[in-house]
Amino acid sequence: MAGSGIAAITRLAWLLTRRIALLAALLALVFAVVEALPGDAADATSERGESVADVERRRVLLGLDQPVAVRFLRWMAGLPSGDLGVSARGEPVLSLLAGPLPNTLLLGGLALAVTVVAALGLGCWAALRPGSMTDRVISASATAVLALPEFVIAVALVLVFALWAGLLPAATLAGPDGAPAAWSMLVLPVLALAIPQIGWNARIVRGALADEAKASHVAAAVLDGLPSRRILTHHLLPGALPAIAAGVATSTGMLLGGAVAVETIFNYPGVGALLAGAVADRDTPIIAGVVALTGVAITCVLLAADAIRAWAAGVRR
């Protein structure tokens, strides 16, 4: 028992190291890609009428005269102490992210929660009646929506629920604390993000349950005459859990990626707008800051998924 505990910790530490190395490589890539884009932050944020000498002065001020490797290492050196550098317009990146990042995590987190609940519900419902009308309708709709881009869903939701029916707000406005001013403003953005992922995950749940149903212990339980709900919760789901956890983990990245598009349509006060603007401005510290912090968030979800898989595997043994 103790041996397996140490092994698990070692495994976790190894996983963590790998994920951190991956994140560092990603950040290096961010610096390299922005460097490869034409123009730099000093040009992009200059005012009309600023002379070449003035732009050059600001370039030195921003440290952009240094080689990209030096700038990367300097930026990385600040990371452990929570220093994400300064934007091209002189605002500390951490304070620029302080409002938008929690909002995006809230949006992504809610969408993830809705995805998990809805996908599990729909997947189980369909799996309990294999081949039935319900099963076919759920599977067909899941396939249909998983291919829809988030912005198409977002625009449709705004048209129907905000502009025609007037039931929900079309735009998300921030209150004095920087968070969405009302809960009702979260409904449409969360749905726009979650709907394709629900489709994707409902199919995974349905498929994993179907695979699991072929296992001998399930057949035995059915022969024992156990009620189908008990078979689902005690015999099917535990076995299907690793596959479901992997599917949800994949969705995390998709959700945060889709958030950028959805935020623009709803004017949601998240990192999407910040990121888009920063790319236009060649503002590397902001881009790297967003990548680092969302990377940490995704890593946490992936680790949780790994833990669930390890736990489920342990239960089965």
Binding site: G49, L96, L163, A171
Partner: protein, 501 residues
């Protein structure tokens, strides 16, 4: 209009019920105006003297802080913190008298020392030389309660150049973000580009009508229009023609047009080595463009035809210059006379910085093909364009948001050696006339020079100005007296009021 007046009167709460219904409604105090403005979170600046890229930031700053002068309707320069100004005979030294009773939001009076400190701070910013042209830091001084600015050269238009960024803070302000201003509204809170401001009862320009203004930042015009149509905001500032078309069918939404808001000229490089160096070639292109079609298609009709003279909103704009219209035969003839190489394809560089710009380039290319000129449109991303093409390219689109002054453009982009001479134009007669115009306080001499400046521009500058885009705001039916001025004039909200619904 009649409908709106009727709506305003039907509230029944109007105290002057005896007045006839046709009289213009009397402004009432009170209410909170929720106004949306465009901005990017990544580009937020709170420094009044910083690089203002966001309309939302500029709006908030303009409500909190006063500039020395401001854009006006009848005269293009109106008083603000400076009540009056006067130049010495050499037109180099200018004296600005501050408004009576101007105080900062913390109650301390605004002194000439505060203004001098603020202007010097502005002058020391990286683009300070462009913002206070011809004024060295040490030539900004206080003399009792007047502020004295001494220009390096005679400049009759100095007050005009002080309209947009001369925001005044208290002397020695360290924390700029929440520093008190002397403007019509006081900051209550600010967060990530959104803000709430409340009325400054002690404002020197008279008490504003609104109790409060809430500014909401929007990344896209589409989301801003949706928020307005859904009743989440009362005004969508500078939201554009697309939104106006959507809203046109809604009787409960006002579509407000501010003429002369945006110029999107095509720049033809005039310097040696450019294919457009010959004035005949430039004239030919100006004759090949179909201006009516450009306004109709690029601006959705929300604009008007222009005549290749920049500064169309200037009270001194020469309306009577002959309007250049499409003449393909003459264009072809001029191209032939100039020996223009019609076998080549020329590149027209553009960006998507503002709505309609890239579309204008594409339509222009289609139109001039009928005169035999082959143009390929190259869409560049903003960073590349400003870095590589602007001021250097042979043929490109540009845009300007301050269009109420002929002199402003002359000094910025046309006079020989101007820092932003986009077409590399150099014309001895133009330079001479420009000097005359800015070197005199005599109204007649100045008027004549202004007229001649425009004639020369019309005849041979490097600009093809096909039209002027309206600024477009959407507003709820209760909003009254929104500013009608183009460009930065749209931020003057102190006279806005809300009719009781």
């Amino acid at each position: 209009m009649a409908l709106l007046a009727a709506c305003g009167g039907s509230g029944g709460s109007a105290p002057e019920s005896a007045a006839t219904t046709t009289a213009p409604a009397k402004p009432v105090s009170g209410g909170t105006l929720r106004i949306g403005a465009l901005g990017r979170v990544s580009a937020i600046t709170r420094d009044p003297h910083g690089t203002q890229a966001n309309e939302s930031d500029y709006l908030i700053i303009s409500l909190i802080y006063d500039t020395l002068t401001a854009p006006g309707a009848t005269e293009n320069t109106a008083p603000r913190l400076a009540a009056s100004w006067k130049a010495d005979d050499d037109v180099k030294t200018w004296r600005f008298t501050l408004a009576q009773g101007a105080t900062f939001h913390d109650g301390t009076p605004v002194t000439a020392e505060d203004v001098v400190w603020s202007l010097r701070r502005l002058r020391e910013t990286p683009s300070g030389a462009a913002r206070l042209p011809g004024i060295k830091t040490e030539n900004i001084e206080a003399d009792g309660d007047t502020v004295v600015l001494t220009s390096d050269y005679a400049n009759a238009d100095l007050p005009l150049l002080l309209r947009l960024t001369t925001f005044v803070m208290k002397k020695d302000t360290k924390e700029v973000a929440d520093a008190p201003g002397s403007g019509p509204f006081k900051l209550e809170w600010y967060r990530d580009g959104n803000a709430r401001l409340v009325r400054n009862d002690a404002w020197h320009g008279g008490e504003p009508y609104l109790d409060a203004i809430e500014v909401k930042i929007f990344e896209s015009p589409q989301a801003m229009a949706n928020a307005l149509l859904g009743g989440q905001i009362d005004v969508a500032s500078n939201v554009g023609a697309v939104a106006a078309r959507t809203a046109a069918a809604r009787p409960d939404v006002q579509v407000l047009r501010r003429p002369d808001d945006m110029a999107m000229p095509i720049v033809m490089r005039t310097a040696e080595g450019s294919p457009f160096a010959d004035p005949k070639v430039r004239e030919a292109l100006r004759l090949a463009v179909d201006r009516e079609a450009m306004v109709k298609q690029v601006l959705s009709g929300y604009g008007k035809v222009a005549n290749d003279v920049l500064g169309t909103g200037d009270p001194a704009y020469a309306e009577d210059l002959p309007q250049r219209a499409r003449d393909l035969a003459r264009a072809k003839q001029l191209l032939q006379e100039a020996g223009f190489d019609l076998s080549k394809t020329y590149q027209l560089r553009t960006t998507e910085d503002i709505a309609g710009l890239a579309e204008s380039a594409a339509l222009f290319a289609t139109q001039v093909r009928e005169a035999g000129v082959q143009i390929e449109v190259v869409k560049e991303d903003s960073g590349t364009f400003w870095d590589k093409t602007w001021l250097k390219g042979d043929l490109y689109t540009t845009y300007w948001g301050t269009n109420d002054s002929v002199i402003f453009f002359s000094s910025k982009v046309m006079v020989t050696g101007a820092g932003q001479n986009e077409a590399a134009w150099s014309d001895a007669e133009f330079d001479e006339t420009y000097k005359q115009a800015v070197g005199t306080l005599d109204e007649t001499t100045r008027a004549q020079a202004l007229r001649k400046i425009q004639e020369i521009q019309h005849a041979r500058s490097g600009y093809l100005l096909w039209g002027m885009a309206d600024g477009i705001d959407l507003a709820a039916s209760t909003v009254r007296d929104l500013p009608k001025l183009p460009g930065y004039g749209r931020v003057q909200l102190e006279r806005v009021w809300l009719a009781r619904a």
